[in-house]
């Protein structure tokens, strides 16, 4: 009992009396721990955060109708049940119909325009996205053909099918009944792809234009998941008895895989090297602080202290310093990771509680190890020599 009391007294006394030195040691440990917890948090968070950035490349999964049918909203919704809701960034179904604009054939797509903004964030729209019925988004090529500007109006004509269900043939062109609808152009978009030859309107307007509710031809999905997870979702959907088949957009998934793995490897290596060097820095500072106390070790040995008790005391100090420094560092590190996340990705991260004991453990280990080396060398020396000052 008495021995324990003495032990505690010696540790606290040395911490309090040698305040400035201990502050130096604590600071060193806290800095090391901050870097450790900050970088590890970032390392774990980067794939998720970057994965979201990669969704800029647009849809990475598509649903197509099975054999010659059409997709219904119910089928799509059922397919979506196989994918965790939080992972779905957007799902835009498209219904393509041919229309004529001033006697020229064009493709019009009826879709959910707010979802398109999510699945194809790279569309560069001059003007605004349509928000109410009767508004239309026009591809750059179509717009330049008819010299359209945002705010202009344009008329789409849809050939009503003849009773036998086939579109009118060429020689009856004159008599083909058409349904005309006038739309207000809200925006003109360019993508650098085929979409520039199309016009986009809402599903409701498409139904009004064609006079019938038709199914969708394709649905584009943007899902934030790794390519293995995506393949899993696609297989799960295909194995269900829904009349649709899902497949991955290889160009997007494959390339994302390549780039993301490089990025992760980069952050991993950087983290490893920074940690290694920081730990060595912490160790040398601790060594300097402890080496200073060789005289104290010698004195205590001369008074009859055993090697074990001396090592125990230094370890106790190291434990305390490492624990406090680690605790301090794990919170500072989280603050740093949070700052990075907010500044770089505009989103916050969750606090990993497991990192607190981990950081503390590593700091205790590093401090303990770096204390032991100089103490051991002090113990090995004859106390008389140390005290004499050689």
């Amino acid at each position: 009992m008495k021995k324990q009391k003495m032990f505690l007294k010696m540790i606290t006394a040395s911490l309090i009396r040698r305040r400035s030195r201990m502050l130096v040691a604590l600071l060193a440990i806290a800095v090391g721990a901050t870097i450790l917890s900050g970088l590890v948090t970032i390392y774990y968070d980067v794939p998720r955060q970057m994965g979201e950035q990669f969704r800029n490349y647009g849809a990475n999964m598509i649903f197509t109708p099975a054999e010659g049918g059409a997709l219904s909203q119910a089928d799509i919704d059922e397919g979506l049940t196989c994918i965790p809701e939080d992972n779905v960034v957007g799902c835009a179904p498209y219904r393509y119909e041919s229309v004529t604009i001033v006697e020229r054939p064009y493709m019009a797509a009826g879709t959910n325009l707010s979802e398109v903004q999510k699945t194809s964030p790279y569309w560069n729209v001059d003007g605004a996205w349509p928000s109410v019925s009767g508004e239309i988004l026009v591809g750059k090529n179509v717009a330049s053909t008819f010299a359209l500007k945002p705010g202009d109006s344009m008329t789409l004509s849809y050939d009503i099918l003849s009773p036998d269900g086939k579109p009118a043939t060429a020689d009856e062109t004159r008599d083909v009944p058409t349904r005309d609808m006038t739309f207000r152009v809200t925006g003109i978009f360019d993508t650098g792809g085929n979409e520039e030859d199309y016009v986009f309107l809402s599903v409701e307007d498409m139904t009004a234009l064609t006079g019938e509710e038709g199914g969708f031809d394709v649905a584009e999905l943007s899902v934030s998941a790794s390519s293995e997870e995506l393949q899993g979702y696609a297989d799960a959907i295909n194995s269900k008895s829904i009349p649709l088949s899902s497949r991955l957009v290889k160009r997007v998934t494959q390339s994302e895989n390549t780039v993301l793995s490089k990025l992760q490897a980069l952050v991993f290596l950087v983290t490893a090297i920074v940690l290694l060097l920081t730990m060595i820095c912490v160790a040398t500072t601790m060594m300097a602080v402890v080496t200073e106390r060789r005289k104290e070790v010698g004195l205590r040995k001369a008074l009859g202290a055993s090697d074990a008790s001396i090592i125990m005391e230094f370890m106790g100090e190291g434990l305390l310093l490492g624990g406090v420094g680690g605790l301090l560092g794990s919170f500072l590190g989280f603050a740093f990771a949070q700052a990075v996340s907010v500044n770089v990705f505009n989103s916050s991260i969750t606090f990993h509680f497991l990192l607190v004991p981990l950081t503390m453990l590593v700091s205790i280990l590093v401090t303990g190890l770096s204390c032991i080396l100089p103490v051991r060398s002090a113990i090995d020396i004859d106390p008389a020599l140390v005290l004499k000052g050689e």
Binding site: I35, Q53, A265, L266
Partner: protein, 429 residues
Amino acid sequence: MFFRMLKGALFRQKSKMIMIAVTIALGASLATAMLNIMFDVGDKMNQELKTYGANITVVPKTSSVLNGLYEMDEAEETTASLKEEELGKIKTIFWAFNIVDFAPFVNTTASLNGAQVKLVGTWYNHHLALPTGEELDAGVTSLRSWWDIRDGKWIDEQNTDSDRVAMVGAALADRLGVKAGDTVTLQTANGSEALTVSGIFDAGGDEDEQIYTTLAAAQRLSGKQGQLDSIEVSALTTPDNELAVKAAKEGPASLTPREYETWYCTAYVSSICYQIQEVISDSVAAPVRQVADSEGNIMEKTELLMILITILSLLGSALGISNLVTASVMERSNEIGLMKAVGARDRQVTGLVLTEILITAIFGGAVGYFMGYGFAQIIGHTVFNSSIEMKPMVIPIVAVLIVIVTLIGSIPAIRMMQRLRPAEVLHGR
């Protein structure tokens, strides 16, 4: 006397000075490695992002534009096309060095066993020897890196004499029962060609229903000798800023001469497009938004991320160094007390200690720079399979950083030294 004491301190307290030098070297190596990686990560990621394929497409000025301009109201489609002989000029533009790959395309439809299929002629690994002396293998082998070759292999233009080879899309091949090594006979109004199937590819897109062949074979079949339908260009670009957006929106003509010069001489995707249009007659070069925009976005994020990690590690190594310097000066209070007791002035003691530490710092910093070089190369080779370019500007940054950090680290120690009362220290309290 000053120098003798300096020499004495440096050599007699060897182990202590080595420890300081080691810590400074570690800090310096960390700073060097991180700064170099930070400056180079943009270029490296840019290269990696090339797996997404071309970011610029070049097409002929469409007939509709011509019709609109000159009121030529005749045929539906005037077959505008690009000229094959002008292809090489792409590598002569101002930013030629940033053009990493490109491929021309000719599209046509042909009948195969009575069914209509889409045929695409292009380059695969076409060898280009440029007038500048540069050599380049251009083509879709790298522009379509995500294609999965299921059976057989990519068309190898450099090792096959015949241009009568083809690759068939997986979906089409399944329907027709075609395997690598088979021969498919394609027929158009311009004749027929028997093509040997080199491989079956799975592209996960519309291409799975198409046949890809060499440029020459497709030109013969479509009757478009010497003509091209489109060109895809993969270029390293700088993320857009306000100037680039303004140029893209209002046209280069809206820029002031000074702005124009800056814009033209920066590798924005819009300025590269503009330069391509200058060399390829009657062409429109447009960025592929899906690739070009996302690229800029991801690069920006990666660079910002690396900058923040670099700042953290710089702060860490700075604190580490100044900490050690403080600790090591503190432990010499005895010696300093003695110096003061025999009549040294504060300024002299400070000067001596600072010189000692700075000499150690310069030595450690130099070693650290080369260590950092090593670390940067390890990272470069492991992650990107290429070495990290060492920017000369890193050297002064690291040097200034080390000096400032050691000086700041010495401040608490110097203040302590000046407050030190020799009698107290020597007495041993």
